[in-house]
Subunit: 250 residues, 2 copies
Amino acid sequence: MSEESQEITAAILVIGDEILSGRTKDKNIGAIADVLTEIGVDLREVRIVPDVEAEIVAAVNALRARYTYLFTSGGIGPTHDDITADSVARAFGVGIDVDERARAMLLERHRPEDLNAARLRMARIPHGADLIANPISKAPGFHIGNVYVMAGVPQIMNAMLDAIRPTLTANAPVISETIEAGAIPEGNFASDLSAIAARHGNVSIGSYPSMTPEGFRNRIVVRGRDADAVEAARAAITAMLDGLRPANQR
Amino acid sequence: MSEESQEITAAILVIGDEILSGRTKDKNIGAIADVLTEIGVDLREVRIVPDVEAEIVAAVNALRARYTYLFTSGGIGPTHDDITADSVARAFGVGIDVDERARAMLLERHRPEDLNAARLRMARIPHGADLIANPISKAPGFHIGNVYVMAGVPQIMNAMLDAIRPTLTANAPVISETIEAGAIPEGNFASDLSAIAARHGNVSIGSYPSMTPEGFRNRIVVRGRDADAVEAARAAITAMLDGLRPANQR
């Protein structure tokens, strides 16, 4: 992680009042995070904002300036609260209109006489954007600059993500090793783990407790792009934990 | 929503590399959102940032300045990657030390000889903060100014949220009415719904498609603090949808 300037990074922006009210529980953040980790893009920040143009514009401009990629989810349907496309156009300072490629996609699903003004809203695409195909309900997403605008419905978002995935530039994938500390309390190994982390600066080491019916269980995760460095840290942590276990559990 | 300055608002800041890598799927955002909606606090923004002090400090200061309340989750354990307390102290420009009240709480769970340097990290509390009790594993959260710092483990976070909930100032609760549009396509009612939304400016109206095994299903949600206004919008939407349904389904 020392050559920060070469890192391929990303942010996610989830757009929608329904997530902030708790009515809908987001599933897209975790799904995008998984894909980015698989291909080796560092997800650095996530924001969730309401269906308010000024909020969307501000978040898009803050995040697209700071990270290699910005992925958005939500707000590209036909109803009045779907304002993502217009907001992204405003963030980029470009116009927006019905895009003939997008209209053609909608006509794969809808008869011409059903393509009313509301449905045509889904064909409004900022000038200069490329489309992201939607194999499920046809209304496309789009990307403009480094911003990828996707649907909020998880099944459609995942299909769009599959479509753009091969086009993304990635780092070497991050290798992740999980070490089960089991019931050893975090407080018993935290000092040793800190010392190991200090000696292995080329990996990141995290400790993650979870509550189970049997009590707390802890996992330690080593992440890095250099396989030898990850293995060295993993071995050091395993040896450290073994020293803390009762002899009959080693 | 017209008297913006009187609104009680909130943001959530989730702290942790494990959420950004996808290894852990966040459950706290939805849980906090549900509680805030129940008590009538408007959740306006969520951010997720990594275990990096500068990122945490910047997010805490941006969000605490902008909203009535900021709730954080994650990074208050005993390991080296738990840097939330120190970061919040830095954000507020105050010192941080082992807090005797917090040490006493830890001693409810740990013998004095087990209260090593790592565990004592969990008693490090920014100067001027009040503690938030942790009935599960004793290590407390804290609040300072308008910032509430809670654990990342969902069971503990929920217990802390229960503890602080009665202390929060809230608006009149938001009333929410859900109208099932069923299989009527969004594109068939979007224009009418937009007109209804324009006539009912004192409520917010959202349309939420979801994919089911039987195809898309749509729900319309009306939210507002004035019961009569919510009911008026609900009645208008129901009448509009009835006009779109085949006669035998009305």
